[in-house]
Amino acid sequence: MTDGLTLYIPEPPTRPGDTPDFSHLEIPAAGAMPRPPTDAPAETLRDMAYGLVRVLDDAGQAVGPWAPGLSPEQLRQGLSAMMLTRLFEDRMFRSHRQGKTSFFMKSTGEEAIGAAQSMVLDRRDMCFPTYRVLSWLMARDYPLIDLVNQIFSNARDPLKGRQLPILYSARDYGFYSLSGNLGSRFGHAVGWAMASAYKNDDSLALAYIGEGSTAEGDFHEALTFASVYHAPVILCITNNQWAISSYAGIAGADETTFAAKAAGYGLPGLRVDGNDFLAVWAATQWAVARARANLGATLIEFFTYRAAGHSTSDDPGRYRPADEAAGWPLGDPVARLKQHLIAIGEWDEARHTQFESELVERVRAAAKEGEAVGTLGKSKPPVSEMFEGVFEKPDWRVREQREELGV
């Protein structure tokens, strides 16, 4: 007789009150991973899913075969998008605390991913975002005032008051309509990419999903279709370690890497330091080259850390050590890119401080402009907008109900 079976429930190594401990993570040195040719067969790339593509070393130098050789101008543009994202989100987070909006989410610590990818992808491509890639829009100079108006759901909200704050849509910026349902657009990216291939177009799709949502059927359905039809799509997992209060182990991180899931679909899987702007850039460039050559999809896991709470409704101090973010072994993406620019002699502390104050002023001006239009409840689009866009042409229900409400 045995004692019977036992059920295993995974738990994170530390909880509130504990000292943050990342000793279980294996972090290879920057530059250690080889860079395979972009047409390498997927089965030769298995190791890429278990290592970590890193370019920036501890001294802020770009090292190894993945160093993308960016111009100082490109680096400064990336830094600008990341800083702007962080400053804007800090401001809007405070606006929520002041009752100016109902909801907000920050991407603190993850800004390198959207910023670099937005710069690598072409204007003809389409990104299928999550709610934590505002830096995509910042890197493309999306007007701050349109973001503010959407967040305040005011009379100039580009989405006409129909959508929760930060669930933007910006087709002209290659940014697909967001939804609060997790993972449900991952397969749309595959469909978009298949349509592009069907039309012999050259538009690629790029989609994001959180590590927590890889457990959704949508993730596996999208990978199946991407694999079967060789869809020209870049499928990205932002593994930020936390899905609200559930650590990544609840999504399977203790058993394998998320990048390794690619192998089961016969796709290349890259595991990349998501806090390293240059590594994100290089890995994306690799996957783009592969997709544009009609060699199909790539799955990329961006290993990063959600430094802020899940949303304005969340208090991470209740489930993880308060100072965990500070101990994250891959550092802060803004600080690392800044360090690199300084290390190559293209930036300095004085310029940084000066630039930051300029960005703060830009954000402040946009916030003030939005506040002048009105914040949540003080201004809103015409109520008739509630009835628009349900169908291409309104049916009698919409017409009658609009009349009943008197709008």
């Binding site: 469909g191 978009w192 359905e221 169908f391």
Partner: protein
């Protein structure tokens, strides 16, 4: 005009649209080389090419997600779900994505997709090949739901659905794929051969969504039906000897409310017939609309004839199915002032 079964008419609609619009393509489980388990896509891959009509993984959620992405890009995909009973894994895609994409993006993106699915009972398909889930879709704002009852309408409605810029759930009553069925299962099966509505033009035409058809004019009671139940109701009306007006709704979203109100206002009585379970079925909505708009013209309570509130039972197919006997009873009840 050639005589076509509903299968042939649907195949013709798809053939016409593949030839006419290079942005139309279709896919689903077994639809490509094999031509679909009900043969609706037979020959289309061979005629129009592999990439216009192809097989997919057994993944309803993946099929619809892919279709939405293609639709957002600018194509007009037609996805087949092998049985309407299997559509539920794609429910989130239909409800949270296809139905709302235009609204939530303020018109930046939309999903001009058509989702075809064989549906309804009467073929001894048991719980998983017989259900009528139309009320689930009718409840979702932003989706159109279409249910043809004959070959002519099937082709015209399917072409209109593919050309629509809104997402359409196109439910094909599989019991009447090969012939009209009046509910008398004990009698020999009929084909569409001699039916007036089997005269189907070869080329392009549409039957607009949201326009009901008056199948039979009458003075004493209005019968509202769609799909297979149009034929069951027609037969029951003949048997009852009651002078009933029969309206085939053809689409439940958009709904031809004017046709319903104008008829019930005239007859003062209403019987609603559908295969789906009664409780919270689409008949409940129809009944409420008639009550709200025709109350002072009504001479008796609205009657509903529907499937029982049980899962679709295999051995009890004909005890469950709302056949002509139950429709006749409802017609008699509604005539008792």
């Amino acid at each position: 005009m050639p005589s076509m079964s509903m299968i042939q008419a649907l195949n013709s609609a798809l053939d016409v649209m593949l030839a006419r619009d290079p942005d139309v393509l279709m896919f689903g489980e077994d639809v490509g080389y094999f031509g679909g388990v009900f043969r609706v896509t037979e020959g289309l891959q061979k005629k129009h090419g592999l990439k216009r009509c192809f097989d997919t993984p057994i993944s309803e959620g993946g099929i619809i997600a892919t279709a939405i992405g293609m639709g957002a890009y600018g194509l007009r995909p037609v996805a087949e779900i092998q049985f309407a009973d299997y559509i539920l894994p794609a429910f989130d895609q239909l409800v949270s994505e296809a139905a709302r994409l235009r609204y939530r993006s303020n018109g930046e993106f939309w999903a001009p997709i058509t989702v075809r699915a064989p549906y309804g009972g009467g073929i001894f398909g048991g719980q998983t090949h017989s259900q009528s889930p139309e009320a689930l879709f009718a409840h979702v704002t932003g989706l159109c739901t279409v249910i043809p009852s004959n070959p002519y309408d099937a082709k015209g409605l399917l072409i209109a659905s593919i050309e629509s810029n809104d997402p359409v759930i196109f439910l094909e009553p599989k019991r009447i794929y090969n012939g009209p069925f009046d509910g008398h299962h004990e009698r020999q099966m009929k084909t569409w051969a001699d039916h007036a509505k089997a005269d189907v033009p070869e080329g392009h035409y549409t039957v607009p969504l949201g326009k009901a058809a008056t199948v039979r004019e009458g003075r004493d009671v209005t019968v509202l039906a769609y799909g297979t139940m149009v034929h069951v109701a027609e037969s029951a009306i003949e048997e009852s000897g009651i002078d009933a007006e029969l309206i085939d709704l053809r689409s439940i979203v958009p709904l031809d409310i004017d046709a319903i109100v104008s008829s019930v206002t005239r007859t003062g009585r209403c019987v609603i017939v559908h295969e789906a379970s009664r409780f919270a079925g689409f008949g409940g909505e129809l009944s409420a609309l008639v009550q709200e708009r025709c109350f002072f013209h009504l001479k008796s309570p609205v009657q509903r004839v529907a499937g029982w509130d049980t899962p679709y039972p295999h051995a009890f197919e004909w005890d469950y199915f709302p056949g002509p006997g139950r429709v006749v009873s409802a017609l008699k009840r509604v005539m008792e002032d």
